[in-house]
Symmetry: C2
Subunit: 279 residues, 2 copies
């Protein structure tokens, strides 16, 4: 019916957005509670108390909190000085079993601070009226469109922090990290010793890890990752071969050709031609 | 296998991110071309030329460009003074037929500017190395996790601007807008005359529009929208009935009860109890 049909499907229905802005301690009215919907809190400035069933922690600027359905929690404004934060209450449209019935507190780092800044920008751009009156929750129009980018962003927050945690537990995170360290070079060479140093392992430990996981020497693992990166450069950019070889750290086009052919089975130029012909 | 399995599924695979930062005109090397992947360009500052098959337009700070697969386009840096912008190249994981084989140029407004700021924050937080060297494209690690929030955000951009356009064509946008205008009051009353003025219609025209679409008087349409908002306040907040009635613009709790009961068939308190009991 709708030409954009496939694009409309939502992952989450955002119901309420609140900007909390407190300049002095508020007498406590809430207490430990749980609810059936999901909640995300982002701490923009200051700090408050955060109670779980057993402990009280600090919830500080840059931190983020994911409260899955059923998780007991209580944000305590009664002992804070200054606090500014965003609250989002939503349901998921598909049935995702939360990995835990406890909330997830993510401590602030450079990435989470940027994320909070990004979400704040989106609120200002797409739901400005939600921020007009602090300390009141704003009802998000059901079925509206204006907040779609914000919903997608929140889905990203949920996905990323839950996924990251799950990967961390399953041990897969180490491999993601190695791949990202190699990717940071953007295709330029990286030695086993450099990779080990950046990942915080001894070269010996790294070699064992990689051998266990891939059955191959670390050098081969690195080379194959580089080849994947180079394929992307060939497919998605229009740099000519000499420029590309130079950017990838090859001192001569011949070495670039040889390296690529060894793993990919054809020359870089032939690979690009094949990609482009397909189009 | 993975406890976060359902959360991992991706909508798009981001391959390349580039920060373009130009201080003086660059001699033209590109020309009109098309490719099989998707591309999004965000103009952060300055302006450049943008060619389609037939015309040249300006692509200015705050604008955004969606280039679906197959759409001829050409970003012309040869006549610009200063320009700074972000480029994203990606594939969709599911098969979405683009509504058009032409690119979509969205002119800058307050929302698009906030969106561009948000995407920039996400790049800085989750893919900082992509911004380190301007005018080179950075390969995003395939299967990596660090850029998931950015991918979700781009998906939101694509969805929102494609969806908005499609809705606009189908005429449904007017109704979304009316609902959003009502929602801005956060449950407080709005008269037919106010709604008409905010939407830019005469009250007569608004009445005809609403009657055609819903078969009901505009007052009933507004009231039902307000009831949906009030339901959310009852379900997702813990405000007591007097506070809530006051915030919703009722001068007495009795009127609030009567209004809610008329459409919902039970008292606000009974509705809240039912919501909370279910949990």
């Amino acid at each position: 019916m709708n030409p954009a049909g496939d694009f409309i499907e939502r992952h989450l229905n955002l119901h309420m957005v609140g900007l909390i802005d407190i300049r002095k301690p508020l007498p406590g009215s809430e207490r430990l509670h749980r609810h059936r919907f999901w909640q995300i809190n982002l701490a923009c400035a200051g700090e408050i108390g955060l109670w779980s069933q057993h402990t009280r922690q600090r919830f500080c600027a840059g931190d983020l909190l994911v409260v899955p359905p059923g998780a007991p929690h209580y944000l305590d404004y009664s002992r804070c000085g200054v606090y500014r934060g965003l609250t989002f209450k939503f349901d998921l449209t598909a049935d995702h079993t939360p990995p835990d019935d406890e909330f997830l507190l993510v401590r602030g780092d450079a990435a989470s601070r940027r994320l909070i800044a990004a979400v704040t920008e989106l609120c200002r751009g797409f739901l400005p009226q939600a921020l007009e009156t602090p300390n009141r929750e704003f009802n998000v129009p059901a079925g509206g469109m204006g907040h779609l980018p914000l919903e997608d962003m929140l889905w990203g927050v949920l996905r990323y922090y839950y996924l990251a945690r799950a990967q961390h537990r399953s041990g897969g995170e180490i491999f993601f990290r190695l791949r990202e360290l190699i990717a940071r070079r953007n295709g330029a060479p990286v030695t086993v010793a450099e990779l080990a140093a950046e990942a915080g392992y001894s070269t010996g430990h790294l070699r064992v890890l990689v051998r266990e996981r891939t059955g191959e020497p670390t050098k081969t693992f690195i080379d194959k990752e580089r080849i994947a990166i180079i394929r992307n450069h060939l497919k998605y950019t229009s740099l000519n071969m000499s420029e590309l070889a130079a950017r990838l750290g090859f001192c001569h086009l011949l070495y670039f050709n040889k390296f690529f052919r060894k793993y990919a089975g054809l020359s870089p130029l032939a690979y690009r031609k094949r990609c482009w012909q397909e189009e």
